[in-house]
Chain length 354, copies 2
């Protein structure tokens, strides 16, 4: 096929002729960059599912394929490091496609002067995290950039997983009547990073929730739970995930703030820093959308696993009412019983959280 002419640049995006930190923040500016720049360029049905990965088919075999660049700072934090994150984050994106993670690739961008021992420790963390979940790292690449042209270490991992069921798990499958289940308390990863960065001391250290959640997802699938959608709560947190799904599915998601677990340390740190736990990144938490009739069975399965003991039912999907914007709606009932609209994160909250 001959390449066609380059269309004129429709930018500046959001009145900015330059890339801003918020373009990587998981909120509305990132969403805009994706919608106006990347999706139009590479337009194809897979990219348009707005999923955590692509589901591709080869000769009747369904595979999930997903990639993430990891640029977290600091490289080491309570509960993990950039290596555990690079394995678990990509494994989780495969899990969100309903796939069993099998193979990974890793590409390293090293800054000249990085201590070899740092690289060694990160690689050992990757090895351990891969062993825990049973995935193999089978190919990779290493590049080195001059001092001052990188930031120690960036890792991009790409994952391949096998889909061994017949469900279609995607935002567009969410429908009125679905229940929203949350796998555990929120905000730990983001606040663990921020506590280190800001030098905050609490009575007890906040540990990142960084973990591979694929065992929970596979347990739900193996039990035959009819999952409609899965989403891990990374950049932009729970709020952004729900808004994105409501928008794609054109539904109204109602949630109850009382039902959403946030531990005391995270709540305290958020108050201190003026952050809202709903928007804070997690690396071992996800929501599942299942038919309301499956709630009890699904919760029992999630709670049977150490990573899901605090799993809970946080909301429901209803049809959009006349007069609402056609693009989806998320509302939350506050502890004092008032319902408010939940927006996508706008601007930059926590840069380089993953």
């Amino acid at each position: 096929m001959a390449p066609d002419a380059v269309p004129a640049c429709p930018l500046p995006l959001a009145d900015s002729p330059h890339v801003l930190l918020a373009h990587g923040g998981g909120g509305s500016l990132m969403h805009q960059l994706l919608e106006r720049l990347f999706v139009p360029a590479f337009r194809n049905p897979l990219l348009e599912t707005r999923h955590d990965g692509a589901v591709i088919e080869y000769a009747g075999l369904r595979l999930a394929f997903t990639t993430d660049a990891y640029v977290v700072q600091p490289l080491f934090f309570p509960g993990g490091d950039i290596g555990t994150l690079a394995i678990n984050g990509t494994v989780n994106d495969l899990a969100m496609c309903g796939a069993r993670p099998v193979h990974l690739s890793a590409a390293f961008i090293l800054e000249e002067g990085l201590p070899m021992d740092t690289l060694w420790r990160v690689v050992q963390s990757m090895r351990q995290a891969a062993e825990v979940v049973g995935v193999q790292l089978v190919t990779g690449d290493t590049k080195v950039v001059e001092r001052g042209k990188g930031d120690g270490l960036f890792i991009t991992t790409t994952g391949l997983g096998v889909i061994e069921h017949r469900l279609v798990i995607a935002p567009a499958r969410v429908q009125p009547g679905d229940a929203v289940l949350l796998s555990g308390d929120i905000g730990r990863h983001g606040m663990a990073i921020m506590a280190v960065r800001e030098g905050l001391a609490f009575e007890s250290t906040i540990e990142s929730d960084c973990a591979a959640v694929s065992p929970l997802v596979l347990a739900l699938l193996n039990a035959g739970i009819e999952i409609h959608c899965l989403r891990d709560l990374t950049r932009g947190g729970l709020a952004s995930a729900l808004v994105e799904i409501a928008t794609v599915a054109r539904v109204h998601i109602t949630t109850d703030a009382n039902a959403i677990p946030v531990c005391e340390e995270v709540r305290g740190a958020c108050e201190l820093l003026g952050l809202e736990p709903l928007y804070v990144a997690n690396e071992g938490r996800f929501v599942s959308f299942v038919p309301a009739t499956e709630v009890e069975r699904a919760l029992a399965i999630l709670r049977a696993h150490p990573l899901g003991i605090d799993a809970c039912h946080i909301g429901s999907v209803v049809a959009l009412q006349d007069g609402h914007l056609p693009s989806g709606l998320v509302t939350m009932r506050s502890p004092i019983g008032v319902s408010r609209v939940v927006d996508m994160l706008s601007g930059e909250q926590l840069p380089r959280i993953c």
Copy 2:
């Protein structure tokens, strides 16, 4: 599986407690980093094939899986840019596994302040390069790092391709009696980049050879040529590729300098900068190892394609003689008839060439 204890760091590698630019240069230090740090950590049979990608099997289906980080500077150069490179480089790694490239992912690490128009142009180049070769970019990620913590734009692409034949194409398959075919003249990509960086002016601009060579490989395969090994000549150039293959296959590769095409401009630029074309990176050239009986047929097929019109027979594989190191040998007959040993690139020749 429970993670086992972290073994002690066997470093410093090559007497350096820190990462050096040469660790990414495609030569012996990069090789050492791979052999001593990455391969031991992730030890598995696929990683140990020392191939451009991994060949994985799912339910009898053979797929090639490969990843590369692109950090080239400058972002735009005669004959291409980081976007064309990110598509063609990964497509070529799939081709070197004997696969038909099908799907790609792309992860972007943007530096705050990058002009949106730069990103736009790069993305359009990626779109065009993907269209030319018929691959689909189906999933991606974007991260932004603070000003001064990156260098404009890094891209990691990961590719998936389907293997539609029964050959095993790998360095270990190279054997005495094989012929070494080169697909075209060498050194263009590296010298195009260096000419821009060093501000060199020649009578005519050196253009990078950056291109997807998968059509040539698929033409050889479709004609039933029994390919033993394929290798594209990126970092470290032709010399490093041959040394690496000779080492894995434990053979002696004899080559003839007279047979290796280098254009006048590249030869001149190399002399000016004190570089050896054999070690200069290419992004659209590869060697194929085929049985000697297939040479004429294979050359005719390569030369029938615009990217292979200068294809030539540059050498042969013979058994290692007693007394040679057991780890492989490459020799080259010079224009005046003297045979010399060709070594792997040591140290850093051209940083950030891809």
